[in-house]
């Protein structure tokens, strides 16, 4: 029987703008975050395409050096503070966490709304900084350049400071929710791995972000009062600033990747209708990554004038943070063994995550080795590495997650053909853009260069073409998602035949999430015991039939 969209659900009841502005419903806050992060993603993505177009030829193409410096700072700062850190925890996480643990809402709904308005406040400061000329210091704000430049760095620092609190509020909310509001019978090892990943991410958000807050306060005071902690002209030490900054920023890269890993654990298992391989290993490795990520920040500073003995310690510890990620990749690959793999779009993104994240992870080992890092630090090799891990990792996982839970969030289906096509275009465009940058970096092309010596030109041209292809892929995605919102066909409660509390309620779910309190009857991935009929034939079946 053809699935239908229920009469009332969280999107249309209660009605009116005020009900959205003062909502305490975690699903609505999740949707508002989702709209904001997608806006900032497309905006910063556009900046990236402009930057790449500027780099077509050495010298001036579209803008001069100062404008270029402001553009890449904006691209970095918006992508990190306004998109990738809040994206999975605040958008998908807010929507899914209470549903996945059978709760009515997060532990502190008012704090959740406060985190949204703090996010909006921070974004306003960021946009003010953009309008008033933008900062030209790079997203790292290294002193003494950041304390001596006249560009509007202070408003960007204030934006990052405020956004930090939005991240802390979300993290705090999730820790208490997961500890206190789990469904009856749902022990820690019966939780979906997405919840484990969100828990580990929340731990990092809560432990690392305060140090960023104090760093930005000290940097603001350095710029205004010259307090002499970070500015060498006033007796301070720039390397100390780098320690303060990277103590937050390395765990921050795990705030970005861990929720992505949580989504991939869900996608690989649910799309192949097979029990996840090594549930405990994946859960413990999420937790392990969260702890070890606080010991390794010094590998960003091997050539910064840091003491050589500290560099050796940081390099040694860095190799231990790579092992849990490797274990996870092997577990995901083994989950495919003897599964019933559907190649719908979420699975396409999960597989491209496996490919790109593995490359990103392996190049991380290059950067961890001391002597090799001296050659490739602050070159395009590093740019390629973190794009492979952040875009190839977190963004692919986010896109897979959006496609997987889209029917649950909006109750409608998207166009499968165009979704698969854009996924393939994005995969090709991504590799064109960033694999060439590994080569550029190995040959010594430095980062943040407005112009470059002629011998790098051919690789830059190829990388820019890749960026355009990437842009095309995302354009197609925007089109079919908007089409799906307006004219999408109803998707029904469980289009993928997946196991999970969120699939046991309507799509889109009612405001109180569940009509009857769900109770745990089997494990989160028991595809060897439970067979759930699917209401949406995936493309591979249409082909097979």
């Amino acid at each position: 029987m053809e699935p239908t969209i229920p009469q009332t659900h969280y999107l249309n009841s209660p009605k009116g703008l005020k009900s959205w502005l003062f909502t305490l419903d975690h699903k609505r806050i999740g949707i508002m975050y989702f709209a904001a992060i997608m806006f900032f993603f497309f905006f910063a993505g556009l900046l990236a395409i402009i930057l790449r177009t500027e780099l077509l030829n050495p010298g001036r193409d579209l803008m001069d050096a100062e404008a270029y410096n402001r553009f890449f700072t904006l691209h970095g700062a918006i992508m990190i503070f306004l998109f990738i850190i809040p994206s999975i925890p605040a958008a998908l996480g807010n929507f899914l966490l209470p549903l996945m643990i059978g709760a009515k809402d997060v532990a502190f709904p008012r704090l959740n709304l406060a985190s949204w308005y703090v996010f909006v406040g921070g974004a306003i400061f960021g946009i003010y900084s953009l309008i008033s000329g933008g900062a030209d210091t790079g997203w790292t704000f290294y002193t003494p350049y950041s304390t001596s430049t006249t560009s509007s760095v202070s408003s960007m620092l204030l934006a990052a400071f405020i956004l930090g609190f939005s991240s802390i509020f979300t993290g705090l909310n999730f820790i208490v929710t997961i500890h206190k509001l789990r469904a009856p019978g749902q022990t820690w090892f019966k939780l979906p791995l997405m919840v484990w990943a969100l828990y580990a991410t929340a731990l990092i958000q809560v432990l690392a972000t305060p140090v960023l807050a104090i760093t930005l306060v000290l940097l603001l005071l350095e710029r205004t009062m010259g307090i002499g902690i970070f500015d060498p002209a006033m007796g301070g030490d720039p390397v100390l600033y780098q320690h303060f900054f990277w103590f937050y920023s390395h765990p921050a890269v795990y705030i970005m990747i861990l929720p992505g890993m949580g989504i991939i654990s869900e996608l690989i298992s649910h799309m192949s209708h097979r029990k996840i391989f090594g549930y405990n290993a994946i859960a413990y490795s999420s937790f392990g990554i969260a702890l070890v990520s606080f010991l390794v920040w010094g590998h960003h500073m091997f050539t910064s004038g840091q003491s050589e003995l500290a560099a050796v310690i940081f390099s040694f510890l860095t190799f231990f943070v790579g092992i849990p990620s490797g274990v996870k990749v092997f577990n995901w690959v083994m989950t495919l063994y003897k599964g019933s793999i559907s190649l719908a779009t979420p699975m396409l993104y999960a597989l491209s995550f496996l490919v790109l994240f593995t490359i990103g992870g392996l190049t991380g080992i290059f950067l961890g080795a001391l002597s090799v890092d001296i050659h490739v630090h602050d070159t395009y090799f590093v740019v390629a590495h973190f794009h492979y891990v952040m875009m190839g990792g977190t963004v692919m996982a986010l896109l897979g997650g959006i496609h997987f839970w889209w029917p649950k969030m909006f109750g409608k289906r998207y166009n499968e053909f165009w979704a698969a096509t854009s996924a393939i275009i994005i995969f090709i465009g991504f590799n064109m853009t960033f694999f060439t940058q590994f080569i550029l970096g190995a040959q010594g092309m430095p980062r943040r260069y407005y112009t470059y010596i002629d011998q790098y030109q051919s690789l830059h041209v190829f990388s820019t073409y890749g960026a355009w292809v990437l842009g095309l892929g995302f354009l197609i995605m925007a089109i079919y998602f908007i089409h799906s919102l307006i004219k999408g066909k109803p998707a029904g409660n469980n289009p993928w035949g997946a196991i999970g509390f969120e699939w046991e309620t309507a799509s889109p779910p009612p405001t109180e999430n569940f009509v009857t309190q769900p109770v745990v009857t089997h494990g989160p991935y028991d595809y060897d015991k439970v067979l759930i009929p699917r209401e949406m034939p995936t493309r591979s079946e249409k082909v097979a039939r």
Partner: protein, 219 residues
């Protein structure tokens, strides 16, 4: 494991709709506050790290500069804050016993101690402003030898200033608790907000317990 299996206690008006009972709500609010205190410890931790590094880089300057701080005032401030911690703890205890008047008395005493602390801080600050012992480039005092004495005062003002802001934040929270207690919003079974404010206040005192010896007693 949340405790749904229990018979549903009559949902009194204090329990929010998404909690199953008062106990779960109380534990959640305390867990939330403890996680917030974790962020506060790390927020101040950054300053303690800066203090430790600059003290090991400029030991004689720190020794000379700490003489500019008035140990007597610092000592009185420590006594004031510890007594405010005691009265805060007693306030929670008296609300646990359901004694509204005594709770308000203790909360008010805590407020007075906090205000005294800030007044003493005001005298110390104005004394330093007058002498020119100011942070960073505003430092004009010439009575301290050793290199970069302004760094000590930068760290001093940022640490005690931030701590002062947290004291003010605590006072606002206590005033809200006072108003709510006077309106009978709490009873012997529901006193989470006071308990949570108490936790925050004790941490503010705990941070000062470390600030006092590190800044005032550099021998």
């Amino acid at each position: 494991m949340a405790d749904h299996a229990k018979t549903h206690a009559p949902l009194d008006e204090h329990v929010a709709h998404h909690f199953t009972d008062a106990e779960q709500q109380r534990e959640s609010s305390k867990l939330g506050m403890w996680v917030f205190l974790l962020t506060e410890v790390l927020f101040f931790g950054g300053l303690f790290c800066a203090y430790a590094i600059y003290r090991s880089w400029y030991p004689e300057m720190f020794h000379a500069a700490h003489k500019a701080l008035d140990v007597k005032l610092g000592f009185i401030n420590t006594l004031v804050l510890i007594s405010s911690s005691v009265t805060m703890a007693l306030a929670i205890r008296s609300m646990q016993l359901g004694n509204k008047r005594q709770t308000m008395y203790h909360l008010f005493a805590t407020l007075i101690f906090a205000a005294t602390f800030l007044v003493i801080k005001y005298f110390e600050y104005s004394h330093k402003f007058h002498l020119g012992q100011l942070p960073g480039k505003y430092y004009t005092y010439t009575g301290i030898e050793g290199s970069n004495p302004h760094v000590f005062f930068s760290i001093y003002f940022v640490m005690t200033g931030l701590h002062g802001l947290h004291v003010i934040g605590g006072m606002i929270a206590i005033i809200i608790m006072l108003v709510k207690t006077s309106r009978d919003r709490f009873n012997a079974l529901y006193y989470n907000p006071i308990e949570v404010t108490g936790l925050y206040w004790h941490l503010v005192d705990l941070i000062w317990i470390f600030l006092f010896p590190l800044l005032y007693l550099v021998s």
